[in-house]
Symmetry: C2
Subunit: 479 residues, 2 copies
């Protein structure tokens, strides 16, 4: 029977990582393709994961003093053009509404690729005095960016995200906000998704269109490639001046505000899959798992088995655990592999023999380890502790993988070999010149992921040009 457990085998992760990824997305029923190229359907299981991420982040946003708003989905082309760098960055990937109510529009409307311009226009209207500051708004929505090649969750013509937009009276406060929100993303990845990160600043080449500084969180996938998973931008007064966002300060002078924005998206779903998944499918960190525990009754037709399963279910549910009993008419083996494909962190098995002994078997999805537990009032707390343990084990494993894939090198010629064999990051000194970044990109198809400003040592040399280095930079091949 073991042979026939899986209804549809998925490609092995090490044989073809890209195909494995797509297989998991489909077979775990996270998404489906729609009839519009590049636009996906978020199926219930995938969307439920996003809801968990939303809840966690939304709570942290509100705790840090942010309020949710909703801006129009369409932006006049003329408004998008107000900030020069910004429009240059986004114009090539816009979807444009040219017809409304059967009439041609005079000023075509862009489906929002991001909403800096709308927030700036609104802030210019409602901010008058230092008393109105700071304004710290966030928006949950979908955005459209026309992409040529797309992959589920990683790159799509439409994706779901949050975009925070804040304005402040001082540069210091805006800079602190930028870093604070980067830290909220780090916390989300660590505490909710069990994903360790590299963070730092983006180079001029890689930063957001219109930003003065972009901070990024970068996550290492199992295949050694890197995924940019969230960004936080400090805008200085660029948009403020383009849109006239001014306030009367305490000293009775008109001043421009300082601005930030920050966003994280359904890309995080891709990160969860590619950091933790294995050859049997998804492996979900317990806190983001829509179903944390599945109870599989063995020989469920035998008296008492299903009752026991339901009893355990109720006791766990009462403690806030997201749990369900799989009492479908499939075989236990089939149920096991479905639960594995969906990455459910904990599986509890209960059968006729367990009934007599008052025990159940508890299996961990992340490493397959099984244990027998007594069914008593302490069980829910034990399962909660077990889920924390699983979270920590998954984080530790991902962290070890990350550490094993940061190679320090000062020899430009060996970059290619490192990327081809070890993969992951090359950590190296950098002079700060764009030309050196381009050289790495052209020679090895690796991009700068982020850098730590002024962290180079006294005698560090940029391996690309041989000049004195200023910064430490991370190169990697990326999604």
């Amino acid at each position: 029977m073991a042979k026939n457990i899986k209804n549809d085998a998925i490609t092995s992760r090490d044989d073809d990582f890209a195909q494995w990824y797509t297989d998991v997305c489909r077979k775990a029923e996270l998404m489906d393709y729609s009839s519009v190229k590049g636009f996906i359907i978020y199926r219930p299981y995938g969307y439920a994961m996003w809801e968990q991420i939303q809840q966690f982040m939304d709570r942290r946003f509100k705790e840090t003093g942010h309020e949710n708003v909703y801006m129009p989905m369409l932006i006049p082309e003329s408004l998008l053009q107000k900030e020069k760098d910004h429009v240059e960055g986004f114009a090539p990937e816009c979807a444009v509404v040219t017809r409304g109510g059967q009439n041609e529009l005079e000023d075509p409307l862009i489906v929002r690729p991001t909403s800096e311009t709308l927030f700036s226009e609104h802030y210019a209207k409602i901010v008058k005095s230092y008393r109105d500051l700071p304004k710290k708004y966030n928006q949950w929505c979908s955005v459209v960016r026309w992409e040529k090649t797309t992959r589920p969750f990683l790159r799509g013509s439409e994706f779901l995200w949050q975009e925070g937009h804040t304005v402040h009276a001082t540069e210091e406060e805006a800079r602190a906000e930028t870093l604070q929100m980067r830290d909220v993303y780090v916390e989300t990845c660590k505490d909710l998704l069990a994903i360790p990160l590299i963070t730092g600043r983006k180079t001029e080449r890689e930063k957001f269109a219109g930003a003065e500084e972009t901070y990024t969180i970068e996550a290492l996938m199992h295949d050694g490639k890197v995924l940019q998973s969230g960004t936080s931008h400090y805008f200085g007064q660029g948009f403020a001046k383009a849109f006239g966002i001014q306030f009367l300060d305490k000293d009775n002078k008109q001043k421009y505000i300082y601005q930030t924005s920050w966003g994280a998206s359904t890309r995080l779903l891709g990160a969860i899959i590619m950091v933790h998944g294995d050859d049997n499918g998804l492996v979900l960190p317990p806190r983001v798992a829509p179903t944390q525990v599945v109870i599989v009754p063995i020989q469920q037709q035998k008296p008492g088995v299903l009752d026991q399963a339901n009893k355990i279910c109720e006791s766990l549910k009462a403690k806030g655990i997201r749990v369900k009993v799989d009492d479908s008419d499939k075989s236990p083996g089939w149920k096991f592999s479905e639960a594995e494909m969906r990455g459910i962190p904990v599986r509890i098995e209960v059968g006729p023999r367990d009934l007599e002994k008052g025990v159940c078997v508890v299996a961990k999805r992340n490493d397959g380890v099984k244990d027998t537990m007594t069914i008593d009032e302490a069980l829910p707390e034990k399962i909660i502790a077990l889920m924390d343990q699983i979270h920590n084990e998954m984080y530790a494993k991902a962290e070890a993988h990350l550490k094993a894939h940061i190679t320090e090198s000062t020899n430009f010629d060996e970059f290619g070999k490192i990327l081809d064999t070890v993969g992951g990051y090359i950590k190296t000194p950098w002079c700060g010149d764009d030309a050196c970044e381009v050289k790495v990109k052209e020679a090895y198809q690796a991009t700068s992921r982020c850098y730590e400003p002024n962290e180079a040592k006294e005698d560090d040399v940029c391996p690309c040009c041989g000049k004195k280095a200023k910064h430490i930079i991370y190169y990697a091949r990326a999604y």
Copy 2:
């Protein structure tokens, strides 16, 4: 001082209801206009009300077995055309994307006005067997319908809503779903928003494009006009046949599914404003109020006053009450009118003299009644009970207003006078002919809101044509 309490007076509700409405929307900071005509900005206070509605409804959707998903924002024009009635209903008000990534699109894309077609296409793909049924999905999103004349929350080119879409093996189950979701809307209005309703079926003329039957909830506004506030549709097999949504039933036969959809939107914010608001601004039912209690310290510079206010605040917060202290440097009178404009249900005042006595003054926004309460550990429970009382008072008041505005009439000639003087609904027998609806509409600018099928009495006559009546119908002037 009383004279100067308001920073900006609003138009009196009885002088000019339309202007009063707009004033409240703006002055309570629920929304702002954007630079795209017909597209509004949902400001933090307005959006927070919507979040309360979302939480309530989302919980009820999940309790009744629904799952959230997310479908693409853009629909191919060719897909929208698959169901004939549906496309005829929506084509005139579509926003169309004709350019993507700087190229002209071969098949233009419609910004979703509603998503029946996308759900139908998806269901056709994933439903194979009776084991896959029912599928009960819901989506929270924004939709675009190009409107010529727009009003905040009531009619806009973009609005926020939820759309539920379900498919079932039997007609009976689908019909039960349609009614169940109508009931969830009724419950939302009654238990969350303190709004009583008239519900019933829409006539052929007024039903949703593509539906076999539409059930509606209709709310009566203070000015005697009616607002359609949510609809639930039974589709039969119309979309199933157009999209080929079939399943293999237990009897081994291929059958078409039965389908429903149901939606409620940010129109509900308009209903809250127009049912409960008064000349001092919003009046919010406590359960939907983003801030349920505001504590205003009197002479807050006096020792102990602010401490006491904060202490009360913490004790209420600990019981889950949404409360804040207004410790800004404005005068108490100013704070009172701000809280009134925003409709905060309960205001607590605490000043130096109250300190000595260990009491506070508690004022109700809905009727201005004040009471003195002892500050002790029982205070939070008393405030919770008071909020329930306020909810019930507001519902009772709205219900009395509704009952006083249903006029039974069997004389076509007096319809106009009733609508001009009493307003509200005319309840009357109806033969079932479209021509009679049109006659009422043309003579009195009133539309049929809903009808109760086969509820006419034996000798009831349709007042429009004099023929035998079948149904009871409600006519009203509507938003």
